[in-house]
Homo-oligomer: 276 residues x 3
Amino acid sequence: PSSEASSRGEPGTQEKLLASEDVVVTSEDGITKIVFNRPTKKNAITTQMYQEITQALKTASKDNSAMTVFTGNGDYYSSGNDLTNFTSTPSGNIEEFAKRGADILRDFVDTFIDFPKPLVAVVNGPAVGISVTTLGLFDVVYASDKATFHTPFSHLGQTPEACSSYTFPKIMGPAKANEMLIFGKKLTAGEAYAQGLVTEVFPDSTLQKEVWARLKAYAKLPPNAMRISKSLIKSSSEREKLHAVNAEECTTLQARWLSEECIGAVTSFMSRKAKL
Amino acid sequence: PSSEASSRGEPGTQEKLLASEDVVVTSEDGITKIVFNRPTKKNAITTQMYQEITQALKTASKDNSAMTVFTGNGDYYSSGNDLTNFTSTPSGNIEEFAKRGADILRDFVDTFIDFPKPLVAVVNGPAVGISVTTLGLFDVVYASDKATFHTPFSHLGQTPEACSSYTFPKIMGPAKANEMLIFGKKLTAGEAYAQGLVTEVFPDSTLQKEVWARLKAYAKLPPNAMRISKSLIKSSSEREKLHAVNAEECTTLQARWLSEECIGAVTSFMSRKAKL
Amino acid sequence: PSSEASSRGEPGTQEKLLASEDVVVTSEDGITKIVFNRPTKKNAITTQMYQEITQALKTASKDNSAMTVFTGNGDYYSSGNDLTNFTSTPSGNIEEFAKRGADILRDFVDTFIDFPKPLVAVVNGPAVGISVTTLGLFDVVYASDKATFHTPFSHLGQTPEACSSYTFPKIMGPAKANEMLIFGKKLTAGEAYAQGLVTEVFPDSTLQKEVWARLKAYAKLPPNAMRISKSLIKSSSEREKLHAVNAEECTTLQARWLSEECIGAVTSFMSRKAKL
């Protein structure tokens, strides 16, 4: 029993999301599963995928599943923001482009903050950028021993998003969080576990078997107790704080995307990549 | 030099606490020691024991000891809330019963929040439920390598208490805290140490010797400096936050205890247990 | 290219800082380096050194370096507050002396809170007291495997400073933080790493080579991105909280320094030391 991600736009808006195969949503055994499915591009997230995931989460919050699980198809969990999102800018319209990007990002992250049921990540391989920072908004994070966690924001003239400027120091302590967020240090799965970002690390060969057995058992627990426990843990004052952090981070990024530092760094990165 | 727990009720109230041997309080070498002493029932906590412990803590806050230490007699630290507290409900009076239970719990937890001297747990064996969640309100937690930490709230249709919805994510990070609090995953002593819930783990065979030597030395340090350091660390704004969380958790549990999910889960658990 | 620490006093004040060799400030490769340079006294910090470091940090916040790095010369990182700061009190003037000490401490810590660029500690050996507590205000902390972390406040009748009553429980969890801050337990480098106080531990023999290679690479990253990332992580509401904690801790210490507990403990410590 599987169904494609909803392709309906927001009610009352003009935009329509085109159906794609880059985000696959299925539901089984009380678990709604959202899969990054662009393996030939290391599951890099396009603008359309941000909108599809936002919509899929909103739908999952109201379906009859007990929990929602994210994972990636192929070797990567997700390589993060697809940098062609930047280079596909309509020329002459860069301020509006930055504003639209910030709006889409803010809505995307807000939906993670407000998701009312247990939210689990199964990090099957390397994670980069926003696929790392959003982990701070998940309830439980399982990882393959092949997973890595990398946020090279400064290298691209950018700054943290998805509330990681708040959640990561809280989770890992500033000493570990800052080396990642400011200096772009990549963490191994073991380091991410030691610092509390990851719940448990599994050998890659047994990850799927062990994790899904555990999740299927959890999905049978009393659903209201789980939902209400989550609402105590992610309390209304905590969610309010997270929404404020998200707004501040998005405003900051909107300005960053127009800065010489960022434009220079992204251009240089794309040009190095094109030469390979 | 040892004395039984005070059995006097609160001034101005009608209730009287009956003296029991289930909670033993002694004072020696500047240390007041409170022992869960119901080893044939795995030190499960009855309604009367909640009230005796509350009173013992209030007395200890004003005695001339430098610190207070909790531990358990026998193999268990404590198996948590005695579920016969639920089944002994006077029939027809379930709302009042739930309200009274929430009031007793709230007072119990408030007393931990406000305890002004160093509060130490020596976790000599498995800990379950509220004997785990209260650890987030202790200053120092030593554990045997035979200790485990288990909070099966969802399994019983219930939700976290003793401020664990706030303290556990803060201490362990959400990834580790949520697997415990929402999914009921049991932690080993080593895992609890790695995530910061436990200060240090000792081999069971040397736990008592090593811990008490250390505590007796600590109890000789300048008492005002220790008390004032604690009041800076557990600041008035932090205590205010904890009291608000406690109130919210107790109100939530009061409603949970009347829910079909909880009544069904507890009934089923007791009936399975009776068949053994 | 190296320059001595600025020896100018604050504008509009009467005080003048005398130039000393106890704090050495140099700038190279985009990195301003501040060195505790009193190796024959285990880099203990005199009143004058507090003021020189405060001034050096204020200067570094506006120079053209990308980051600032603290380290110690010799075997110690720093043995903390030089206790002769206490015994050099002009007699009959102890209240004023305590007030002046609290003012200098508060200004010193405020400068760490407000430092706008990445702030890195290279802990080359044992750290004691304020050289430990300030680490909670650094962004990244590298340590030699010979480093230890020791805050014997209670032993001296004193209480935590440099916001450690707030940052240490947040970083390490209360169980680990309280054993340090209240009971004066010394941490090894490995324990400090496991609890998140330290970013990474290096063998003493390779510390300098590995750390400086890494820092020189980091210093070439886009400086605005790094500064803005830090301002998101150490947000204005977080800095406001830290300043309030610093004020409360300094007021508390000012009273402690006049207490019998503290005077007795410091006198006894100095007299034991003099007999060696």
